[in-house]
Assembly symmetry: C2
Homo-oligomer: 222 residues x 2
């Protein structure tokens, strides 16, 4: 199985590449610059334990083409729509996994949602209903992902209009030893994406004992 991570040279993309490769999922790490993608992929491979799947680095379009089915979008929000426009012709038959959070340009403790309501909804509107868009992995800290010795202290809330695609992404993300939850249709991304700046606020204000707070669905034990 091969997934693509678009914008994979950023901190979130690198951390996800490491985690998925360690879990046995081959990663096509996409970058605007294929050479840079290849260099980052080579540096990541050195951090992986034996028996991990490969990370190959290429340009974003080649990475999309290399994916069996799942294409993870991990670019900054400023590049969200323009990147999707360039990928659109190559996404037929695939699922776009949107992890982008529209943080406000001048304050990471706030979101500035696009007119569609959320990044996930903007992606779905842009790609059209034939290509399912699933929102996922918005709330997990890049620092945590990149420290392979740390457990991931974050449940993963997964939303999107296609239940079938949601289930496939839940199965993929579960390989990272995290608890996933079906959060419903794409509108839930208005909530889920906006959890991230609330977590960043706790990290910045030192309201948590260590930074890199996550979110957990807390089930009672009675």
């Amino acid at each position: 199985m091969t997934i693509a991570i678009i914008g994979g040279t950023g901190p979130q993309g690198q951390g996800l590449a490491l985690r998925f490769a360690r879990a046995g999922v081959r990663v096509a790490l996409g970058s605007r610059d294929g050479i840079r993608g290849a260099e980052i992929a080579a540096s990541l491979m050195k951090k992986l334990p034996e028996g991990s799947a490969d990370i190959i680095g290429i340009d974003n379009i080649a990475a999309t083409q290399a994916a069996d089915e799942m294409v993870v979008l991990a670019v900054p929000f400023s590049a969200h729509n323009v990147t999707l426009e360039s990928l659109r012709p190559h996404l037929a038959g695939k699922i776009l996994v949107d992890i982008v959070v529209p943080l406000a340009a001048n304050d990471p403790k706030l979101v500035e949602m696009p007119p569609e309501g959320s990044a996930t909804e903007a992606a779905q509107a842009l790609l059209g209903s034939d290509i399912p868009v699933i929102g996922a992995l918005h709330n997990v800290s890049a620092t945590t992902l990149n420290n392979l010795d740390w457990p991931i202290n974050c449940d993963i809330l997964i939303c999107g209009n296609s239940l079938e695609a949601r289930k496939k992404v839940m199965a993929l993300v579960s390989k990272l030893d995290v608890q996933t939850y079906n959060a419903g249709n794409a509108q839930a991304a208005r909530c889920i994406e906006a959890i991230t700046p609330i977590l960043i606020r706790q990290n910045i204000s030192k309201a948590v004992p260590f930074t890199h707070a996550g979110i957990k669905i807390w089930a009672p034990d009675h």
Copy 2:
């Protein structure tokens, strides 16, 4: 110290009245019908251990007048604005604590936000900037609140445009033996209110071992 709970005869209001009274905070339980308020208050008093503060039941306006500073709004969203209109002349110098979640009329797994973005923002717009509105206690299950033997499995995210009012509400809510977090200005209510239907979805789908799921800020232990 006396707080008001408006719409206090509903399940959320009753549960909060019990929890606050047990924590030593006197509660003026407001109802549209003062007699019904008094009857419910009397029934709640019987559930409280010795040493608890009193719960008195009266009509919503008298309850608002009885509050030293904090007036908790716990009505269904359909009564949110009309109730606030009636309370407005009596709220000068007080803080309105809005716990209302705009659940969709036909599906508690969805929100239908008002044009202002959230119930908290709608309340702030309606009351004007002289009366601080703080969103809080949206995500805690009424069933949990009403079972005094159960710990509250939910962190409380608190937002509103006045930092001073936020801190006062955080101090009040902390009396319930819960962890509170400053979630920023009122816009954060668009996220926080919308967490509730995601939790309801997990309860309904049995994605959690017991129902009445809550939310937790999950700080790593490294």
